[in-house]
Symmetry: C2
């Protein structure tokens, strides 16, 4: 596999300069390619097989189910995202993962990953950096649910998604293709689907964003950034610690 045709390498190299040897190891990590149909969970809470994935194509969501039957989506993962690092480190998965679309992923086992890390420590820090960035997004998500109202939260969510997608070459400043239903957004934003619908209408009528027919279009990008109080510094970093 050529070096930068996988989104994971693309994402990492936006922040570290990866040497050919790093890319080779990365490439090896992509050896076991698998594909998953939409809708059938590819990982679930309590599972102990310590398998992780690098997403190469499609979208998934990580979620937790509550006893009342509701669910909370913790995050969406898009191509280039690493999935299940925590289940490797903690030996068991603490959440479920469901493909939203048909998904292609490279399967990575604990041993393979640890192996890769000892072969190139720089890759280890790069992955750790990516994990920290994911955690920063998690924090921002928490803040949004805790203290932003529905409209700001939704706007913020769409802007973050756009920024993440652009980094792996999906979508541009004008918008992006988005396979999420309003139900999925509701479960991620801590809202009801009905209310998500109302909020999207509101944002559309305010001339800020349009999300229809599987496509998000920014009608007034700067206006939306202002409205959502979106500060993307938590997404942009000067890269991992080690050069």
């Amino acid at each position: 596999m050529a070096a930068l045709d996988n989104p994971f390498a693309r994402k990492l190299s936006a922040f570290v300069t990866l040497a050919p040897s790093d890319l080779a190891v990365l490439s090896d990590l992509h050896a076991r390619r698998r594909s998953f149909p939409a809708g059938r969970d590819m990982m679930h809470e309590g599972q102990k097989d310590q398998t992780a994935y690098i997403l190469t194509k499609g979208w998934v969501c990580s979620y937790k189910l509550l006893s009342g039957g509701t669910r909370q989506i913790v995050d969406f993962q898009i191509p280039g995202d690493f999935l299940g690092l925590r289940s490797i480190l903690l030996r068991t998965s603490d959440h479920n993962v469901e493909p939203i679309t048909k998904v292609e992923a490279a399967e990575v086992h604990a041993s393979g990953l640890l192996d890769a890390f000892t072969r190139t420590p720089r890759l280890a820090t790069a992955v750790l950096w990516a994990a920290s960035r994911d955690e920063a997004m998690l924090v921002e998500h928490l803040v949004g649910i805790g203290r932003r109202n529905a409209a700001e939260r939704t706007a913020h969510f769409l802007l973050e998604l756009a920024a993440r997608l652009r980094l792996v070459g999906l979508g541009d400043k004008s918008g992006f293709k988005c396979p999420l239903s309003q139900y999925l957004m509701a479960d991620a934003l801590g809202l009801s689907a009905v209310h998500v619908n109302r909020v999207l209408r509101e944002l559309r009528e305010a001339g800020l964003v349009t999300f229809q027919n599987g496509h998000v279009h920014f009608d007034n990008f700067d206006g939306l950034v202002g409205f959502a109080d979106f500060d993307r510094s938590y997404l942009d970093h000067e890269g991992p610690l080690l050069k």
Copy 2:
């Protein structure tokens, strides 16, 4: 410093067997002891000095401020907790840290930490394991704010805190000393202080928990666990990957 008299070592060794050499390195990490008064931020968003801390005494909170003047507390840290790993990895802090009580902490610099990691890889995984566990708590916090009502969320919060404190020898099954004001709880739980007060009364009158005068007392522990749908498996793990 003797080996297990610091809560960080105590916490880690509940999950990995630390060799004397590991403990020695850990002890070295505690060399630069500092103390902070309550109320004055010891770290803030955007700060780039890459300093981290290991809390040995007192409580702090990590929070973010929103443009509207509200704030969201992301987590509380108690003795034995590591503070600011992400600011080392990402080179800049993405949140503020405020001591709630007078605090004692060991100051750890990026270089010192990296150094310790190369000296004993087992310590590196132990710290990584602790970070993963913190992330699992963050996820649970997100789920609570997104999908639990005020009373369940509050109950869940108190139970989690109790479990964390017991691990470092603070408090027991009957309760714990708790320096949090209802304002602080409100900012953590995504509620108003007034509502926290009402919820606490409700829980007290239901004979579940009493939080008064800086002390949390579990009047009916199992009842509370049931009420909050508290499943502590996200806190208990078989320890890090490497033996």
